[in-house]
């Protein structure tokens, strides 16, 4: 079995609008796959398609090496958008109902999961009295029932405070590293996501516009110098001649992005000034996931 999840040309059309369009995604065992996209990009619909909550207009979903959801559904845990919990039941009762649903005989799993998500001390308090963060934790515990091998988490840190976000991050990391759980996760907190994901997929307008690994992101996010000058053509000539490099890009009519010598902005400034170039600004830039995401979205927008 080489993949845990694979979709082929997965498409969902609502009326005349494609919420998800021809998405091919492949997630290997042990991956933490971060799905990124603006609101309405199709991330949640893609997850709902994978989980059989909505039916695809076209395409198919294969799980655990070609199996269907009905065969392997018990190996999948999920949180989609809003926590799916009964508000009139306590955390323990919600988990008990889930335990019975999945046919798990070991009753101690309920206490174990409550402890794992930090809800062991909530007692008989009904879930409708929970804060959003507590509901999210309970939802996470419900998704972990049955020791799933694949977790599909849509905004799992929604409503959590910074310490809660950190705990969830650690829990996800632990699940992946210790238990070998494969995770498909979406989040708007890209900095958080970049601390977790091993692979990324960027969605825009229902399409998967780019996929890359964490290593590829590091490569693409190399630091550079952004130099704003009065004469771009002359400046590039000087850089090519004196620095002996073509490792730069012209960003606009007066900005050059140089991918070398990023530790020596003073040296570049001096060189250009000595050759009669007016350097309006020069600063070091490093693309993080957020900026890279925006760049990809902008490029996609320009192409369409």
């Amino acid at each position: 079995m080489d993949f845990i999840l694979r979709t082929s040309m997965l498409t969902k059309v609502y009326r005349d609008e494609a919420a998800v369009s021809g998405v091919n995604i492949s997630i290997q065992k042990g991956d933490i796959y971060g799905l990124i996209g603006k609101n309405g990009a199709g991330k949640t619909t893609l997850m709902r398609l994978i989980l059989g909550i909505v039916a695809p207009t076209e395409g198919r979903v294969e799980l655990f090496g070609g199996k269907s959801l009905s065969e392997v559904g018990k190996k999948i845990g999920s949180i989609i958008e809003i926590p799916a919990i009964y508000p009139y039941m306590s955390a323990k009762e919600n988990l008990e109902a889930q335990r019975l649903l999945l046919g798990i005989e070991d009753e101690s799993i309920v206490g174990f999961l409550l402890e794992k998500v930090g809800l062991l001390n909530v007692g008989k308090k009904k879930a409708d009295k929970f804060s959003l963060g507590m509901k999210q934790r309970l939802s996470l515990a419900l998704s972990l029932m049955g020791s799933p091998e694949l977790l599909i988490l849509d905004e799992p840190t929604n409503g959590l405070d910074p310490s809660g976000i950190r705990e969830v991050r650690q829990l996800i990391k632990e699940l992946c590293e210790k238990d070998g759980v494969t995770i498909l996760i979406s989040s708007h907190l890209l900095t958080e996501l970049s601390r977790l994901a091993t692979r990324y997929g960027i969605m825009n307008k229902g399409k998967l516009v780019e996929e890359f690994t964490a290593a590829e992101l590091d490569e693409r996010a190399k630091p550079s110098l952004l130099i704003k000058v009065d004469n771009v053509d002359k400046s590039t000539e000087i850089i090519e001649k004196d620095l002996k490099t073509k490792n730069f890009k012209i960003r606009d009519s007066n900005t050059i992005e140089l991918f070398e010598n990023e530790e020596n902005p003073g040296k570049i400034n001096k060189l250009l000034s000595e050759n009669g170039i007016i350097v309006e600004s020069i600063f070091k830039s490093q693309v993080d996931l957020e900026e890279y995401f925006l760049k990809v979205i902008d490029t996609d927008k320009a192409e369409n």
Partner: protein
């Protein structure tokens, strides 16, 4: 399926409304029966004997009302709190999910029914009781009435969950069918084609429970006809309910 049922029974046991209905059934059944029997004997229209089948049929509407509300809450909660999606995403088939809800609803009705009738019989035990008017289909007839009624309730709930209040128009039409539409069609058939037909005999059963015939004694032929009719309607409602559920996308509320 067994796990689904276990989970659904557990959820039922956690619903306050379940206990409220149990208590209400006990209260209504005991008090109503006491006053009805006493009044009936006082006014001598029961010939000093209370028929067991009449007692059993008595209050059937009340338990049906409780079961209908319970089923609506039981199924509606799953949609309201986005539970359906989380159950389906665990690989549980939609038809099993639907059947589980129907089975739990029917069993709840049966529990309320048994409780109700135990109360009624306990109250009636102080009087002379006639056991002579049972027919061999009596309990099967009641079971089919219940199952058919609740299959229509499950079906209606599924429609409401997917289509919201718009489907209430359809449900109201369904309910009023036997009361308004069928008599009109009967009348038209008689007036135009000179055909004497009682279409209500082919309509799902609960409305017929209030037919005078049932208040006296239930004929075997009538019971048999109603059993067949109710089985057919039950299959129709369940099949349409499951098919519509299979094809619909589950939306978050």
């Amino acid at each position: 399926m067994l796990n689904l049922l276990r989970s659904d029974f557990y959820k039922t046991s956690r619903m306050k409304v379940f206990y409220v209905f149990l208590f209400s059934t006990f209260l209504f059944a005991s008090s109503f029966s006491f006053f009805i029997i006493r009044n009936a004997l006082k006014n001598s229209y029961l010939d000093d004997k209370v028929s067991v089948s009449q007692l059993l049929l008595n209050n059937l509407g009340c338990t049906m009302l409780f079961s209908t509300i319970f089923t609506a809450l039981f199924m509606g909660n799953d949609f309201k709190f986005n539970i359906v999606g989380s159950v389906i995403s665990r690989g549980i088939s939609r038809s099993n999910y639907y059947f589980s809800k129907l089975i739990v609803s029917v069993l709840l009705y049966i529990s309320l029914f048994i409780l109700d009738k135990l109360c009624v019989l306990a109250v009636g035990s102080g009087y002379k009781i006639s056991f002579g008017d049972f027919n061999k289909f009596f309990f099967l007839w009641i079971f089919c009435e219940i199952t058919c009624g609740l299959s229509s309730v499950c079906f209606a709930n599924m429609l409401v969950s997917f289509f919201g209040s718009r489907s209430l128009i359809f449900i109201m039409l369904l309910n009023f069918g036997s009361l308004v539409v069928i008599p009109i069609i009967n009348g038209l058939l008689h007036a135009v084609l000179k055909i004497n037909v009682e279409l209500e005999n082919f309509w799902m059963g609960s409305a017929n429970m209030f037919h005078p015939e049932y208040k006296q004694s239930l004929k075997e032929s009538t019971s048999a006809r109603d059993i067949v009719k109710n089985i057919i309607w039950c299959v129709v409602f369940t099949a349409i309910g499951i098919l519509s559920f299979q094809k619909r996308d589950i939306k978050n509320k």
